[in-house]
Symmetry: C2
Subunit: 318 residues, 2 copies
């Protein structure tokens, strides 16, 4: 695949404008005092669909050849990516089929249906969701929308950093969560094009440290599907396309535990009055706990999403 250029991200920003929301940047004096730094939170929890995923999904759909788009799109995800694909398809007047496990939460099924998404369920134990999506694509001519490991998706996610640096140009570092690596790949390409010296710090859950292990090994390493409340960061292995980008652009990866994530969620909710999902609060947790390299005065921190299960609020386990 061809290398992703900054211009791809600029084009993505331009053409997704009618679908993607420009999210606000928040600050908190109390957080700054805790962190010993000036922190600018890019609030993708306020994004359409509740997470940054709509950026990559809509850029992907807008990149599909004009003759193919009417045949629809298909994605396999019970989470933020599935909902984003449904919203992007609805916005562009095409159909979306979302492959979800039969036991997916009713709330997520309803949210996807509300945007006109057709749901196909599968049995986690016996079936392979990717194979199902490929079969649907073959039968219907629909395009499969990958969640992270594709240049169109990555270029779309890069618009997060583009917007943030447009608003706060003199940041010293960006702190970005890593699941499959689409967000950090696109964002670091954009950030280094705009501001070559900016430092990029990735954040992974303690038990989902596949990208950190891979960086150390110099090759992609898989870990067992991690147990963590940060469900959006539960990729078991870096992407084939995202990993070399991470190798090139990311200075370091720091790890956070589930209790640290819960504490950060609580601070964001009770003090800053914003609801951020565990995967989104991982970055804030890393900063709050002083896990970053010292001496970075001005930080951009991406809060990647806000889709929290209601149980996670009503049964605090912290």
């Amino acid at each position: 695949m061809s290398e992703i250029q900054f211009s791809d991200i600029q084009v993505a920003a331009e053409r997704t404008r009618g679908i993607v929301r420009r999210t606000p940047v928040f600050t908190s004096r109390t957080f700054d005092a805790l962190a010993g730094a000036c922190v600018f939170f890019k609030c993708e929890n306020f994004q359409r669909g509740g997470a940054f995923k709509i950026r990559g999904a809509s850029n992907f759909l807008l990149s599909i050849p004009k003759d193919d788009l009417p045949r629809g799109v298909v994605a396999y995800s019970s989470g933020n990516h599935g909902q984003a694909v449904a919203i992007a398809a609805e916005s562009l007047g095409t159909s979306a089929t979302i492959v979800m496990p039969a036991d997916a939460p009713a709330l997520k099924v309803a949210a996807t249906r509300a945007h006109g998404g057709r749901i196909v369920t599968y049995d986690r134990a016996s079936e392979d969701r990717e194979a199902i999506a490929q079969r649907i694509a073959k039968e219907t001519g629909a395009s499969v929308v990958p969640p992270y490991d594709h240049p169109w998706t990555i270029a779309g996610q890069g618009t997060v950093a583009l917007e943030l640096l447009d608003e706060i140009p003199d940041l010293d570092a960006l702190v970005i969560p890593i699941g499959g690596g689409g967000l950090i790949s696109g964002s670091s390409i954009a950030a280094h094009a705009i501001r070559p010296g900016i430092r990029i710090i990735g954040v992974e859950p303690e038990h989902g440290n596949d990208t950190l292990l891979s960086l150390r090994a110099g090759e992609r390493i898989g870990v067992p599907l991690p147990e963590t409340i940060a469900d959006g960061l539960r990729a078991g292995k870096p992407g084939a396309l995202t990993f070399p980008i991470v190798q090139k652009h990311v200075e370091d990866i720091v790890l956070v535990s589930d209790p640290e994530i819960r504490d950060a969620m609580k601070f964001l909710l009770m003090r800053m009055k914003i609801l951020v999902e565990p995967s989104g609060a991982a970055t804030a947790a890393a900063v709050m706990r002083g896990k970053l390299p010292p001496g970075i005065p001005k930080l951009g921190v991406i809060l990647s999403g806000g889709n929290v299960d209601p149980e996670c609020l009503t049964e605090p386990r912290a």
Copy 2:
């Protein structure tokens, strides 16, 4: 007391700028579809201290004669007003004494202390908090900062509408919660000066309808201290100063129940990812439930605060 002019509110906006935060205006396609209107939420839950109260408190402190301010200020409130006075005093380099019931929640005591506020407790059953505040004022030369019924406070609160109409100039109506009436008084003076035809709708809790009863009677009527989760709207009687302003400017008052408020809080949290306290969500509840007069296409809705007791989140009673 002299009548409050629009220029008083403009002056307040100018001089409180270094203390008060210009809060963002949020929108939601899903809420608009539910409401059948274009709704612009003025998010005072993101204000310093978590509520609009800092506007009135800081304008009050800035209006105190220069020789008196060093002697400090005193307020009686275990809620948002007390915290706002502590923050305003800290920002202006003077001392604040906050009179609170001995059984005030530890969290609120801590929040007030964090801003350097001195706490004086009293026994709810046997003591009068206003008398205690007056005695402290007399002994120390400190100025008492009233929560709503004072021209300086009202002018400060009016800056909410000033900012909102500066950002969204063509609103057809404002929807504003009523406790003591400071917020709606200041805001309606500002709104009618900027946009004479704008409609002002007040919102009260069902069991705290003292202002609605007073409007109907043409004089100030008291109700027993109401039982409602909207603790900030639990004034038992309109203010002597605020009531004639409400009579002059407010078209109608609509009532919301506690379950309606809880539903609105849930929508704001789970769909819009923002934490709004019950008193702040009362306006959103009124709009969601179709309680407004019909045919208002473009609404400004004030979400007045976001200081929610943790129990209110972990034990949903809806």
